[in-house]
Symmetry: C2
Subunit: 174 residues, 2 copies
DNA sequence: TGCATTTGTTGTCTATTACAACAATTCGCG
DNA sequence: CGCGAATTGTTGTAATAGACAACAAATGCA
């Protein structure tokens, strides 16, 4: 997800609209383009929403350089210290191969470590370093800020309703 | 999205579970791994859900080799014959550069065509070929089948509720 | 008329996903 | 107990995708 410069597009919708109507006179006629049956597809909206949310997340946490997948890895390790790579991968639906790379990076940044698992010479026990714990704490604060953006956009009631719905339907089962 | 072989994993959840408990005796103890605060993040569920949905979509339409983004392009062209590439890109949130490549492929498959736009020598007017229209019709049937899978998983009421919510919150605005 | 913007295009870089193959280890069943 | 099958972490490859930059041609507009 290379979105190299999500912060640049960080303008709020209203701000963006304003900017457009000032510097760019909205160009005579922009004909409305309908999306037809896409309006009946949950996946379409789910995708659009997910992209929007991830962009906001990336932008909000850009000051600490933590992306959604990295955040989820830190959270799950923090929640289950000593778990193995394959358990972690399975839990988050990340490929084992991909996780190897992610952990290499996080480790290089001094946030996580692989320790020999007691009584399991082939697997690793994953831990947050002290720095990783600090980073996670900071990340959680910023993530809460991100979630506030969501509330702002959806309305508190809608957000809660949606979260409850999603949790009921998607939790556990992959 | 290289998911080269989504069909292979096409087993229904129950079937998968059964298969696992038969051929793979479930491996003594698989400790439950909690995801902590991820349970409070809409983006987390949104992502998991979106991936699941897209995989089912890809699988369900695999017989005609149409992926979600391609489907959305066909639908919008079908709905707005003659629209330009940049209007299409803007509508679907696809990059102009990326759309160029997608249209090259769809065109090579004889599904879409670029015609000179009347009175606008730099832009193209996009159309479905006759074959493209047939393909779209078939795709819509299969997409409905996919949507039925969703209903099966979410329950009809939940799906409708979720769709209404999403539509209310995400439609129009990018 | 002349300058800024738009449109389609090409190309580059990075992130992500799916796979395959391996060595080392561990499991489980006969 | 022993041995074949499965698991774990790893490396590597190919395909897909998004973000950007840079262009030429065309167009808009002051």
């Amino acid at each position: 997800m290379p979105e190299r410069n999500v912060e640049a597009r960080a303008l709020q919708p209203d701000a963006r609209a304003r900017a457009k109507s000032v510097s760019r006179p909205q160009r005579n006629t922009r004909p409305p383009v309908g999306v037809g049956v896409l309006n009946e597809h949950l996946g379409y909206f789910m995708r659009r929403a997910q992209v929007w949310i991830f962009n906001d997340f990336i932008r909000t946490l850009s000051e600490i350089g933590i992306r959604p997948a990295q955040y989820s890895v830190l959270v799950v390790i923090g929640e289950n210290p000593g778990l193995s790579q394959s358990d972690l991968a399975r839990t988050l639906g990340i490929e084992r191969a991909r996780l190897v790379h992610m952990l290499d990076l996080l480790q290089r940044r001094g946030l996580t470590e692989r320790q020999p698992a007691p009584g399991a010479r082939r697997s690793h026990a994953l831990f947050l370093t002290r720095e990783g714990q600090k980073m996670l704490k900071r990340a959680k604060v910023l993530a809460a800020e991100h979630e506030a953006h969501l509330t702002e956009r959806l309305g508190a009631a809608n957000r809660k309703l949606m979260l409850d719905l999603m949790r009921e339907v998607w939790q556990g089962r992959n």
